[in-house]
């Protein structure tokens, strides 16, 4: 067997003890160098020079013209992965900081993760990675980071007032294994291989500072399986996301925090929702549509024609009865006239996993559901009142159960060499 390369400790690297090439790259980073592109190039060269092997044919310049090479800009006013159209795959990872991680360590983790994510999302090989071939197909990769209360405590920064556990609801059956964590990484790509590799890379890159608490793996439709812009379906067959914000104005109104230290950021609420396919599938289509308030084929509100027709809760059918059941999902979720702010961005993914002893014992054939990820300015005025109405009387409650809950502040976007949340940590 030829030589072993001792894995490079990222802690050691950041302390300045690593190879010159890497130190150069990181120095430009630590200085907050303003000469964005030049320093990025230098660091890319340094990284290539640091590779043990020759990976000549794998750089972005050699990528074929396929979806695999599609890149979502990493830097910008807001983090990518929120307004970005839903990719096919998510690896949603909750991390907890190790007990001995200091404020300095937590900042170092943000710096190294941001640097690696920026490279990965650009189809470049992260510093110190010996797998350059695996970084060449970002396939619309986004890596989006969020902070839980525990992270704010560790870095000793004041948290947003809304950053606390989501209120308890009657129908919740929350499991501690899907609960709140200090950090979340939302890794999305249209290539499942890339999503898996990036999950692996980020976990390994952060291992000196943070442990994985849970991983929620989900899917939507494959890239290219339907025309762009088609609303994806969930495993109940419903189109999911019809009333999502679409314009910049919508996003500014519903999603992006506008003022104060958290401006440019957003709030993620993630709910793991078990869906009982067995009992749902015992319903005929009329009952399914009555429960959701929309037709299953087109997704139109019942009594309307098109998916995007407005929801008219007062519309009457031929019998003079309300066309949309007042306890249907649509009716309960609809913002009341006096609270037009009760809207949010849904960015959900499906899961359909092998049965567990628990699901089998309950007599269920499947272990399926939704990783309900949503974004908004403030969960206390958006997710919580909406969910309170749903919890009270949504007909769908008969077939769904919320089994996990967590909430995170998603820092604003990065630019050039800045890292996630840097302005908060350094202020």
């Amino acid at each position: 067997m030829s030589g072993f390369a001792e894995p490079v400790s990222r802690r050691g690297l950041l302390a300045g003890s690593a190879v010159a090439a890497s130190a150069v790259a990181l120095a430009s980073c630590a200085k907050g160098d303003e000469s964005g592109q030049a320093s990025a190039d230098a660091s890319a060269d340094a990284s290539r020079a640091a590779q043990a092997g020759d990976a000549g044919s794998t750089g972005p310049e050699n990528r074929e013209e396929t979806m695999g090479g599609d890149i979502v800009a990493f830097d910008g006013k807001h983090q990518a992965g929120i307004q970005t159209p839903v990719q096919a795959h998510v690896e949603l990872v909750g991390f907890n900081l190790k007990k001995d991680t200091t404020a300095r360590g937590a900042a170092a983790l943000m710096r190294l993760w941001t640097e690696d994510a920026r490279r990965l999302c650009t189809g470049e090989n992260p510093l110190g990675s010996l797998e350059p071939e695996l970084s060449t197909t970002p396939a619309n990769l986004t890596v989006t980071c969020g902070w839980g209360e525990g992270f704010f405590d560790t870095v000793d920064v004041a948290k947003p007032s809304w950053l606390r556990d989501i209120q308890a609801f009657d129908h919740d059956d929350l499991r501690p294994e899907w609960g709140q964590t200090d950090i979340v990484l939302q890794i999305c790509s249209d290539d499942p291989f890339t999503a898996a590799f990036v999950l692996r890379h980020m976990t390994r890159a952060g291992k000196d500072y943070a442990d994985v608490a849970w991983i929620q793996q989900g899917f939507s439709h494959a890239y290219g399986s339907a025309p762009k812009g088609v609303t994806p379906r969930n495993l109940f067959g419903q189109k999911d996301g019809t009333v999502n914000p679409r314009s910049e104005e919508d996003f500014n109104e519903q999603v992006w925090i506008e003022d104060g230290p958290f401006a440019g950021g957003s709030a993620m609420v993630v709910r793991r929702i078990h869906m009982n396919l067995d009992t749902w599938e015992q319903l005929d289509r009329a009952a399914r549509e009555n429960s959701t308030g929309r037709t299953l084929d087109t997704g139109a509100p019942i009594g309307a024609k098109d998916e995007f027709d407005p929801v008219d809760l007062d519309a009457r059918n031929e019998f003079g009865l309300k066309a949309i059941d007042e306890n249907s999902h649509v009716a309960r979720a609809h913002p009341p006239a006096e609270h037009p702010e009760q809207k949010l961005l849904r960015r959900p993914y499906n899961y359909n996993l092998p049965p567990t002893p628990e699901t089998t014992q309950r007599g269920e054939l499947s272990n399926a559901g939704l990783i309900f990820i949503c974004y908004q300015k403030d969960p206390t005025t958006q997710f919580e009142p909406i969910q309170a109405r749903l919890d009270e009387a949504d007909r769908l409650n008969e077939w769904i159960t919320h089994i996990g809950s967590a909430v995170y502040y998603m820092p604003a976007g990065t630019e050039g060499e800045t890292y996630w949340g840097e302005s908060l940590i350094r202020s």
Copy 2:
């Protein structure tokens, strides 16, 4: 709540107690009607008429020109899903027949599963399914069925002589939860949503006759993420499948059984292989390449230039030493001159799952590996001798462990209205 539709029992349906439309459709099936297309059309119409809702816009005729509409022919001399290029996703499902399932029941299961699989693979709604919208994007869907020893016993048909547990190897650490089952369904699609839906559908459709023993969920690269024909990589970064059969002649030589009652079929061996990414990634690139015998970037044999250059085990490097280590994976897997038949079709998928208490206890960050699916004429002269050489001295054994094993006879292809293995069951 409007009415419930009592779920239609497939057993009842097959016994002739179902709605007229369905009975018509099935009758043409049971008669082995030769007027293929006409009867398929009639049964499709019957199926549509039997839908509770109007799913007008979802038939194949309305599909957009996207990858989602791509169809792999279901019927043919051989089952699809073997020679078919690897799709992005697999749901490999091991089923065991229920204790009270008779020979007649097992045959009924094959008939109904074949009928449903044929429709699903063609983008049509299976008989009795109330989710027509979920069947519209086959995205190269294939559903491939295999029989273990238990199935042959139940239908009381003589099994192939090679159909028995794979011989034990020293490095095996086989877990009963990934062991032999009576039946396997290999569900592959380029759309993860479709794969999940078909898994759900087939499980539910067969629930009167068979229980799920395990589900192995895996991924390759996404459709369109790389140019067609590029050899996919596994999580060690290796190109996996370079020496696969490609021509019809290759397939006839290595994969398809030629004579006797099993002609047209093949043998699947599935091995679940845990890969220790943590220790693998401690190797530098030279050590990784030395272990596999190929370069990681191009996949060329060490000392050669191109991925598809022949493996020359006698080639010498500049120091006069063998270019390819004699215990590298390539050297050990290579068929010896006296046994040119020791080749097979690899059709592997990756898995990268959340850590388990067991993997965490071992100090591993990841829970990753390979669902190694291979096809051949006879495992006793193909998989077994190859694996015996690998088990003996393959350098990769330091980082991989076989934790599951099963072997199946894959019946020949179907035509028109025939079902999987019908000629064996009815003979």
